[in-house]
Amino acid sequence: MSSYRVAGKGRVDTGKPVDFTFDGKTYQGGVGDTVASALLAHGEHLMGRSFKYHRPRGAVAAGSEEPNALIGTRRGPGRFEPNTRATMQEIWPGLETQSQNKFPSLKFDVGAVNDAAYMMFSAGFYYKTFMWPRSFWDKVYEPFIRQAAGLGVSPTEEDPDHYASRYLHCDVLIVGTGPAGLAAAKVAAQDGLKVVIVDEHSEAGGTLLSEPQAKIDGTPAWDWLSATLAELKATGVKVMTRTTAIGYYHQNFVGLCERVTDHLSALPDDTPRERMWRVRAKRVILAQGALEKPLVFHGNDRPGVMLAGSAQTYLNRFGVLVGKSPAVITSHDSAWFAAFDLADSGAKVQVIADTRAEVDADLIAGAKSRGIPVKLSHTVTATSGRLRVKSVRLNPVDGGSVGAGSNVTCDALLMSGGWTPSLHLFSHTKGSLTWDTDLTTFLPNETPEDCIIAGASRGLWGIEAALKDGVTAGEQTLDALDRAASGTHSYAVENDRAGTGVTHKELLTDKSPGKAKAFVDYQNDVTAKDLRLAVREGMRSIEHVKRYTTNGMATDQGKMSNINGLNIAADALGKPQPKVGLTTFRPPYTPTTFGAFAGYHRGEHFEVTRKTQIDGWARENGAVFEPVGQWSRAWYFPKPGEDMETAVRRECVTTRNSVGIFDASTLGKIEVKGPDAVEFMNRMYTNPWTKLGIGRCRYGLLLGDDGFIRDDGVIGRFGQDLFHVTTTTGGAARVLNMMEDYLQTEWPDLNVWLTSTTENWSTIALNGPNAARLLAPLVEGIDINDEDFQHMSCAEVTVAGMPARLFRLSFTGEIGFEINVPAPMGRQLWEALWAAGQAYDITAYGTETMHVLRAEKGYIIVGQDTDGTVTPQDCGMGWAIGKAKPDFVGKRGLMRPDLVAKGRKHLVGLLTEDDSKLEEGAQIVFDPNQPKPMTMVGHVTSSYQSDAVGQPIALALVAGGHDKMGETVYIPMPDRTIKAKITSTVFLDPENTRLKIAKES
């Protein structure tokens, strides 16, 4: 047995040894140990270096509030996590851990020179030190800060674990399994009520785990605990351990992070490392207990200086003496009990020093009976010991003046500055707090949530008080749920340790206050001196003091430092604490992994990826994909050896020379049906629809009421009351939402309905001079020629044996068709067309070629050539506006003064003088010789190589562009300035001769 382990104490099973390593050295603990308790069992207090000064640090606490003992944990490749609390990480065989912020070793660290340069690093040092000279920033300051800043090191490999998330609905959620939480759960556990109780620790019990001496209704605390847990589970209460309530959000929505496998040596299959529970509870009971405050004195951060309550926990829960000859300094009764427990387990307690002049006679008697020297009205002014405390200097205080000190040798120093209710989750609810002068702390007041806070978290000390308050909370909760409590619950507790105490700012010292390193925030290395300096330098609000000093801004969110910091700042300001105020606690309660937040949404499942029915064929045929909105679309289809440019040029040329096939299934489709369909279309789109014949289709332009282009697409009329609307791929959901909005809220009188049919159809486009020749033999129901099925027609036909809605339209300038078949038939149709197309050397093409072909014809892509500030006139599409219509969405908007003003940016074509391809997004100027910054008059929206045109083409928005045809503009690039000529947007076949189907001879 390791030398600090006490036989017969604690809940660790030392009969089941567990080997793990810390900084490469193997240590043995038992099942139930944390890394901290196992190291302490070997007498190892030194567990890390501090963040700023690299001072040696040990565990100061035993729970998740631990600021110092942060370690890296490793479980093979990819499974490294920094900044884990050694006090929370359970050991398992093979666990590798390492200390942080040290170089080259934990025991000898060169960064500790920062400690010697203490004066330089005082409050606001970032703001002051690195201000000047400016040139030092890149080379000196920033590298230095980057080296010094940040806790631990980031993992470098991809995390191989899986993370999970679930929603959980319950009637009652109880946070904390201490006496208050358990008593509340016992009351709330009723048939038909779903009760969940959670605790961040590996086992339930809270304070009870550290106080086995208590007897509840005559039963020893641990027996009562196991009986209670068994009873709760038997009544269906969900008891969750290793589960941290990280945040409390609106309407009783609480986030729980469950650590599922971090304590296991072998990872089970299909099991997540962590699971985020998103809980919606009808009622919440917060029973998070209280956190012990450190005392603030010079040398209070030396390894071996520890909270007295934590020392008690290490002894009673883990069976570990944190020292064999500890000293105690306290301002609260609770540390006396800790001292007694250690003494009773064989420790030679050197002294109990109390800052108070008077303490309860029973405590004095208890010390006396154990032979422990007592010093009342004492302060501590120093500690010694390089890597672990060796002695403490205690000085008498008389009337505010500090007398001569004497050193007391010790191997640990237990301290207690009293207790602070844990109000973190309560604060997340925007709960209000009241300052309690007697307890020198904030207590919970009112919360807007359906929540009750119970036990020590509202300032009630002792197990009996917590149990009774838990009962009350349970009863009130049942009452709120319109349930009656069954039976009465009352508790009597023997050996309870409800104590009292006083609260201090930093302790009185005989040192010059400027030299004292009395730490308030261990994790961010903030001292009492820093806080006072901040106030002297003009910080008045606690929020400013916090940011200037970084007090409470570390990953522990000031769990141990906030109240001490407030007391000192308030003293420095000469104001009462509530006038200075408390900083806001925000979620998460403890640091939470990105994995837990991401849950299932990583890798392939990172976000919704929509795929068409043709996706499989495209994959099998080597397509490269690009994301378009949520869709994954085939971008181009390279043949072996082809790069993107070669592939796209081949696809373009083949389509223009023969025929290309394109998967247009992602286009949004809306079935507009009802007696008022045409009226609705007239009101929504700029174009007139009344005279569009059945079996004809038309390009439709959709504006917002501000007059700007929102969407476009071809719309076919399949009946008097039936339109088949297509939208852009990215706009589908937005357009349907907009249409529903107008229909439901502005025109509810219209008898017309919208049905999304995007996914009902697979849509395959055929384009090219051979498109009709390819398609015609496959079509039943109509003849494919210019007489029977002219350009901009639509019909319900059969294609390759499949029912289809066939459109004749063109987004390429070639003879074009879009064939819609019921979606699951999409691949069958594609393959039929592909087979038939072999005779014409058909090419499959992707979105890039589609973009090139349409740009050659000057067809816009909404969202690429328009950006939400472009009108139809700006795009030269005034022809699409039904001027005779009394109204349509955007009609009034188009008359706005700014939209009819001169000098608006117009969409034009650009041809470069040197035949270079412009960069999309490149800015345009009229005068390349003007002084910088130049006046930018527009930008390139689309730019492609074009074999059909014979030179690269571009579309651009240029101020007054329509009036500048043939003029030259300039595109300044980093290495040169490119000259380009403004042209029409139509680069190819302006007469549309290529749309005609030649008569077959």
């Binding site: 309407q251 807007p448 009421d705 939402n737 909005d741 502005e746 109204d887 009034r892 003064p897």
Partner: protein
């Protein structure tokens, strides 16, 4: 995540089923072309930004698909009420009374 009562489905449901749709009770004029520039500007651009109860629109996007109106307190983020589109503004005084 808020809970929102859909006045059509008559169920109180998680916010993730809903989308926000701007301020409520802004009626598109019967004949926009007759609007002055100032009137049209008012309709198109000018919106309230109250600290406290706000009349606003939501859509039960993933559910019944209906747009509806709500009164939400922008300070507490609490919904005071929700009600169908095209129904009059509820009386604020009585709503605040109910909430307290």
């Amino acid at each position: 995540m808020l809970l929102i009562h859909c006045p059509y489905c008559k169920e109180t449901l998680p916010e993730s089923e809903f989308t926000y749709a701007g301020q409520a009770h802004i009626v598109r004029p019967e004949m926009p072309s007759e609007q002055t520039d100032a009137q049209w500007e008012e309709f198109l651009f000018l919106r309230a930004n109250p600290k406290g109860p706000h009349y606003e629109r939501w859509r039960h996007f993933h559910g019944c698909g209906r747009f509806f109106n709500a009164v939400r307190d922008t300070v507490s983020d609490k919904f005071l009420t929700t009600y169908p589109a095209n129904t009059p503004k509820p009386d604020l005084e009585s709503l605040i009374g109910d909430a307290e």
